[in-house]
Symmetry: C2
Subunit: 374 residues, 2 copies
Amino acid sequence: MQTHPAAEIGMPLDAVDTPALLVDLDAFERNIQRMAKAVANSSVTLRPHAKSHKCPVIALRQMAAGAIGVCCQKVGEAEAMVYGGVPNVLVSNQIVGTGKIARLVALAKQAWVAVCADHPVNVKNLNEAALAFGVRLPVLVEINVGMDRCGVEPGEPALALAKQIAASPGLRFAGLQAYHGSAQHLREYAKREEAIGLAVAKISQSVELLGRHGLACEMITGAGTGTYRFEAASGVYTELQAGSYIFMDVDYAKNLALDGNPSSDFEHSLFVWATVMSRPTKERAVLDAGHKALSVDAGLPLVAGMPDVEYIRAADEHGKLTLHDPNRALELGSKLRLIPGHCDPTVNLYDWFVGYRNDRVEAIWPIAARGASR
Amino acid sequence: MQTHPAAEIGMPLDAVDTPALLVDLDAFERNIQRMAKAVANSSVTLRPHAKSHKCPVIALRQMAAGAIGVCCQKVGEAEAMVYGGVPNVLVSNQIVGTGKIARLVALAKQAWVAVCADHPVNVKNLNEAALAFGVRLPVLVEINVGMDRCGVEPGEPALALAKQIAASPGLRFAGLQAYHGSAQHLREYAKREEAIGLAVAKISQSVELLGRHGLACEMITGAGTGTYRFEAASGVYTELQAGSYIFMDVDYAKNLALDGNPSSDFEHSLFVWATVMSRPTKERAVLDAGHKALSVDAGLPLVAGMPDVEYIRAADEHGKLTLHDPNRALELGSKLRLIPGHCDPTVNLYDWFVGYRNDRVEAIWPIAARGASR
């Protein structure tokens, strides 16, 4: 519960209370247009991952720019999207448990909703629930293309599960989920290219095998912001699930900078707005934004526009800064923007995005699926 | 927003949906009693840190067991506590910014509320707001006793700020905030003892100096779960701010186990309830609880009661397990309890505690200050 709103529409940015989650609307809109353009020049469709923003307002913006729908990881996220007007949701994940499956299948009566599976017991349970609700649920087989997390192995195991789905009267075999998560954050361009090349080979072999058994893969879906160009050019993938491109965190930006063509890609548009709450020494300042205001699992945040100021340590409610330039003025009460190390779990800490343009608050968007972990 | 509640009162634990934040009520109540007993045998008062639980129901339980009130880090937390019936709140932190200071001072009309300061400009602003609202606000000087975060240095700088507070008609000088955060997680007992010994020497010297200038330190407050025994025995501290003792995370438990007398201290009472959502190989299982269901900033969670099962990697919505015992049955849909590496930021991800006893849900407590970062 926030007892106090961070901002009101029309406020100057300086008056916005901290910590708050800011969106630079110009940069955000340019990112949406850049991805739309990249996809328009390829043979794939964009299905951005809504786990990054958890916000139906943003999902509808992405669809207005050409996206076919969104992905979600959780039934609760899918509910928030559908209730917020998004008509097309792929749950790019396994949904296990009686209650969750009932919610998923019931939601499929209200919108186009599909799900992934990697286990015969789960397929059986999905089928029973779909029949009980009178739904024919599209189900994709998730295959392991290299990250060794969920998914059956490509080839024969994928075929066996696809056959089971196709033979289930409540289900419809819809294709393959083939996301290579660990390839997203490989530092080198060539390594990412190689990883996706191996994934594509596994998919092609599975598609061919399934085809020989009369099972067509209508959808082959995967990719993220770190690798989307490779999947788009693969000739195999039909959909891209990139999500972080709208915001860009520190980690993705490092990779793109190394690629040598940062200008062709995306800009940081998401910031944690923070206040200098203590100024104990000339070299040290303390912010009011720590673990509960940003996620450090992929590294510490950067201070936007101040390369001489380093965020060196997060505590639960504090962020410690080192000022490398002795002439840097950073008075008590100053506010600054932090670029999160990892956007997705940072967004999950907030109830609202505060969108600004020309240093004035222009939009306050509810993060409807904040905390929707079930 | 959670579109679906995790539990209902009376449900068997097995029926509780995941991820959910569980409290083992027996262990939780024993922890409260153990700390109450430890404090009863000393000359200090307990003022538990509510940043750990963010829940007025728990704060009132702690007060019923003898605590004088609670600490908070944020005005929003203090508001949640006061609105939830807690009559006595120390904001053990600096509050900077016009809006926040107004809220703090207004809250002091509704309950006993005190705050810390480490900067003359902040003291000036607090005084002006207190006068505007017709409040006399108790203010403590935060001194740096070793963690080099906020706080003025002990001795003369502390004296100067205390004098300014005492001379401010809207404020009342109430004592010293002297929390040694970095001592909490030192692995060795002797190192923690040494760190608090150094802190106590700095406090004593400051108390003596302030006393010579007619400034009595009514409150000297600090300590955490990792060091509370040293502060309690110091003869200098008047209040303990330990918070994590009610739940106990992996990191604190490691220290206490190394101390060699774990039985005399606290039990794990907080768990993340998770489901096995994928079972791709004999050695690998995947849970539905990752970064958005638990905080890994202080290390990965442990699997309760299954030493042969290791949580090896967190992704945003997934937790990867390695099963070291090939005979471990962990079927798709199984539920298990994770002991969070760090309780405080994990609690901040949830809206409700699900309290259970004898494997049955007995309490659902709102985490009223979840997300209250301002």
